[in-house]
C-alpha cells in the first residue's frame, strides 16, 4: 500500500497556519500527469465563450454610445458658442457697428424727398408749385 505523503503542493511542509502538515492533494490535479491539461481546459472554455463575447462586443455599440460620441463633440462646441455670446452681450453694442434695417426700410430709405419730383417727371421744383397754384385757383 502506498504511503501517503504529507506537505505542500511544492513538496514543502506546511507550517503557515500552525496546523498539522497537509495531506497532499496534488494527486487529484489532472495537470500533474498531463502537462497540457489546463491549457486544453482553458482553450475549451474560451472557444465556447467566443460567440457570447462577440455578441457582447456587438451589443456594446448602442444608440446611447452614438449619442455619447456626438455629445463629446457637440458639448464643447455649444459651450464655446455660449462663451462667445456671453462675451458679446457683456461688451454691449458697439458705436461703430453698422446700423441694421429691414428690407422695407431699406427700399424706402431717403426716398421721401424725391417722390414729388419723380411724380411730375421734372427736375425743376417750379413746375410743381405752378401745378399746386393752378389747382387751388380752380
Amino acid at each position: 500500500m502506498n504511503k501517503v505523503r504529507t506537505g505542500g503542493p511544492d513538496g514543502r511542509e506546511n507550517h503557515d497556519d500552525g496546523l498539522n502538515s497537509r495531506v497532499v492533494m496534488t494527486e487529484l490535479d489532472p495537470g500533474i500527469s498531463d502537462s497540457g491539461y489546463w491549457d486544453r481546459f482553458r482553450f475549451r472554455i474560451m472557444s465556447r465563450a467566443a460567440e457570447e463575447l462577440a455578441r457582447r462586443r456587438a451589443a456594446g455599440v448602442t444608440i446611447g454610445d452614438v449619442l455619447e460620441k456626438w455629445s463629446r463633440t457637440l458639448v464643447p462646441l455649444a459651450a464655446a458658442a455660449a462663451a462667445v455670446a456671453l462675451i458679446l452681450i457683456w461688451r454691449g453694442p458697439s458705436i461703430d457697428a453698422p446700423l441694421t434695417m429691414g428690407i422695407e426700410e431699406a427700399l424706402t430709405w431717403d426716398l421721401e424727398d424725391e417722390v414729388l419730383p419723380t411724380l411730375f417727371g421734372g427736375e425743376a421744383p417750379g413746375e410743381a408749385s405752378a401745378f399746386i397754384f393752378a389747382s387751388e385757383a380752380f
Binding site: L28, A49, L53
Partner: protein
C-alpha cells in the same frame, strides 16, 4: 484598479461585460483550478467536475450583469460552480439508477487504474467523499488549488476562523481515513 500590472477582478469583469476576450481569459486563468476543485468537491468525479467547471464559466459569462459586486467575482463564480455541480450530480444520479453498476459509472476508463498513482487517487477520493461538503471544498481549495485561509474566507464569504477549523478537521479526517482504508479504486460519484 490595477495593482502592479495585474488588473483586479472588478476591472476584468467590467471589460468582459463589454466582450473583452483577454479580460475574460484572465478570469478563466485565475479561477479555473478553483472552479475545478469546488466542482470535484461536489461531484467526486473528474469528468463531472470538468464539465461543471467549464459550464459554470459559460453561465457566469452569460450572467455577468448579475454579478452585483464584481470585486467578489470569485465567490459569485464558485457559487455557480457549486450549484451546477449539484444539479449535475442530481441529474446523473437519476439517470444512473438501474442503468450501470457503480464500478462502471466513470465515463472514461482510467488507463492507469492499476498503477500506484491511481490507487492513491482512489483512496484520496474515497477519503474526501466521507467529509462534509464544506470541509471537502475548503481542503481542496487550500491543498489542491493553493489558496490561503484569507483568500478562501474572502471569496467564500465565511469567517477565517471557520476556514481554519474546517481545514483542521478535514485534514485530520483525511489522514485517519487514508491510514486505515484499503485500496478500493477511484472514487465514484456522489448521489
Amino acid at each position: 484598479m490595477v495593482v502592479m500590472g495585474r488588473p483586479d477582478d472588478s476591472e476584468l469583469v467590467r471589460r468582459a461585460r463589454g466582450g473583452d476576450g483577454d479580460a475574460f481569459g484572465v478570469l478563466v486563468d485565475r479561477y479555473m483550478r478553483a472552479a475545478y476543485a469546488v466542482a470535484l468537491s461536489v461531484t467526486g468525479s473528474h469528468e463531472d467536475a470538468e464539465d461543471a467547471a467549464q459550464e459554470s464559466f459559460m453561465v457566469a459569462l452569460q450572467k455577468l450583469e448579475e454579478c452585483r459586486s464584481p470585486e467578489r467575482f470569485a465567490g459569485w463564480l464558485l457559487t455557480i460552480v457549486r450549484n451546477r455541480s449539484r444539479n449535475l450530480v442530481r441529474r446523473e444520479s437519476l439517470r444512473d439508477t438501474d442503468e450501470l453498476p457503480a464500478s462502471a459509472r466513470s465515463r472514461a476508463p482510467t488507463p492507469d487504474r492499476e498503477t500506484e498513482r491511481s490507487e492513491l487517487r482512489g483512496r484520496l477520493a474515497e477519503a474526501l467523499d466521507a467529509l462534509p461538503q464544506a470541509q471537502r471544498e475548503i481542503v481542496l481549495l487550500h491543498d489542491l488549488e493553493g489558496w490561503k485561509h484569507r483568500e478562501i474566507a474572502e471569496r467564500l464569504e465565511i469567517p477565517a476562523g471557520t476556514v481554519r477549523s474546517h481545514l483542521h478537521f478535514a485534514r485530520k479526517a483525511l489522514r485517519d481515513a487514508l491510514d486505515e482504508s484499503p485500496v478500493r479504486g477511484a472514487g465514484g460519484k456522489r448521489a
